[in-house]
């Protein structure tokens, strides 16, 4: 199946393994000690080790920044599971929107629902109920995997606040910031959380102000999605 038409202007993240940094530190210290008289070599080795440790701290902090959920395009689902069958249930057209994910990946809502049902989660980084709802969404992704797309739609002004929220709550789905509030208004969302389910015809099946419970989402999605059984 052809992949959704998304483009990314995201730069490759800087990834430094802590074990690499430790090895580099030890290597630098060892080289310094081997080529010098005992006292000078020891001092140089100590300096090298200190510099290496500083580098290690920097590398660790950079690694910390580059790992964990980022809300970017790399978190969009992969190919739709073969054999998955979707039924359409809604009759209200989902308000269209486009925008950029947190890493700059451009998306169109229509590109998302044409392949599989979409769950929109309207949230804010300061919303306590939103954080509690993330567990429900995580278990949903565990059940349906690539058969659904979950997209966080944030009302925050600061992308770093959203990144911190995603990281703190282990949210590994793409996220978009509704800069001018137009997406929220078009879905009549006045306060987070809220959850909307869109079928593969681009219709809103359900919209829950206050957010959907696990049972509500499961009831709705199970009636829309037939997954291939494990015996197939």
């Amino acid at each position: 199946m052809s992949r959704r038409s998304v483009t990314s202007d995201r730069a490759a993240p800087l990834r430094v393994s802590p074990t690499d940094a430790i090895a580099a530190t030890a290597l630098a210290a060892g080289r310094a000690a081997a080529s010098e008289p005992w006292g000078a070599g020891l001092r140089r080795a100590t300096r090298s080790a200190m510099a290496g440790l500083a580098g290690l701290a920097l590398a660790a902090s950079l690694a910390g920044c580059s790992t964990g959920p980022s809300g970017g395009g790399d978190l969009l689902p992969g190919p739709v599971p073969s054999g998955a069958v979707f039924t359409s249930q809604g009759d209200v057209p989902a308000p269209p929107f486009s925008g950029k994910l947190l890493d700059g990946t451009e998306i169109e809502l229509a590109d998302l629902w044409k392949d599989r049902p979409v769950v929109l989660q309207f949230m804010a980084s300061w919303c306590t109920q939103c954080a509690e709802a993330e567990e429900t969404l995580a278990s949903l992704r565990e059940t349906y995997g690539d058969a659904i797309t979950v997209l966080e739609v944030s009302t925050d002004e600061n992308a770093d606040d959203v990144r911190a929220y995603l990281r703190d709550n282990d949210v590994d789905v793409p996220a978009i910031i509704d800069v001018d509030g137009s997406i929220w208004r078009s879905y009549a969302v006045s306060e987070p959380p809220a959850t909307a389910v869109i079928d593969t015809k681009g219709h809103v099946v359900k919209l829950w102000a206050g957010g959907a419970s696990a049972d509500q989402l499961e009831d709705t999605l199970s009636s829309m999605i037939t997954l291939p059984s494990s015996a197939d």
Partner: protein, 166 residues
Amino acid sequence: MRIRPRKPRSQDPVRLRPHAVLPVLAVSAALLAGCSAGASDGSELRLIVRDASLREVGADCSGAARYLFIHKGAELVATDSEGTEALRRELPAGTAIKADDLDYGKAERIPTLCSFTLDAPGLVEGETYTFTVDGTEVGEQAFEPGDDDVATLPVPALGDPSLLEK
């Protein structure tokens, strides 16, 4: 001639005579008492967003729609009539309270207001303050704690019923 270095003033021993200390303490106590007269060190401020949004009573909330900027972590500032900042507090999560006394049956989500309660030390009873949340003015009113020592700041402000009679 050899100049003997002077001992720094800070190292001079402090000697206080009891008969000199007592008046100082008395004046200080009087001044402190004067400063705290009218200040509401034990009072609280309850900011209530009158958005009538449908929520479960008791649930965490923020202001809804145009009051979305009133949320946990936003900063409330009270400024007195001379422009001096009298209070700066980060809002806690709001709590949904019933908007009216109507019976909505088994409905889980009913019309509610979002209430934020915070301590308000230093606000003087009867003094008028301008209140802002994250830089947006939300009201100007006198700080008048009730019997429960809580002053209410409705947002938007309540209308003046007497205006209807004119």
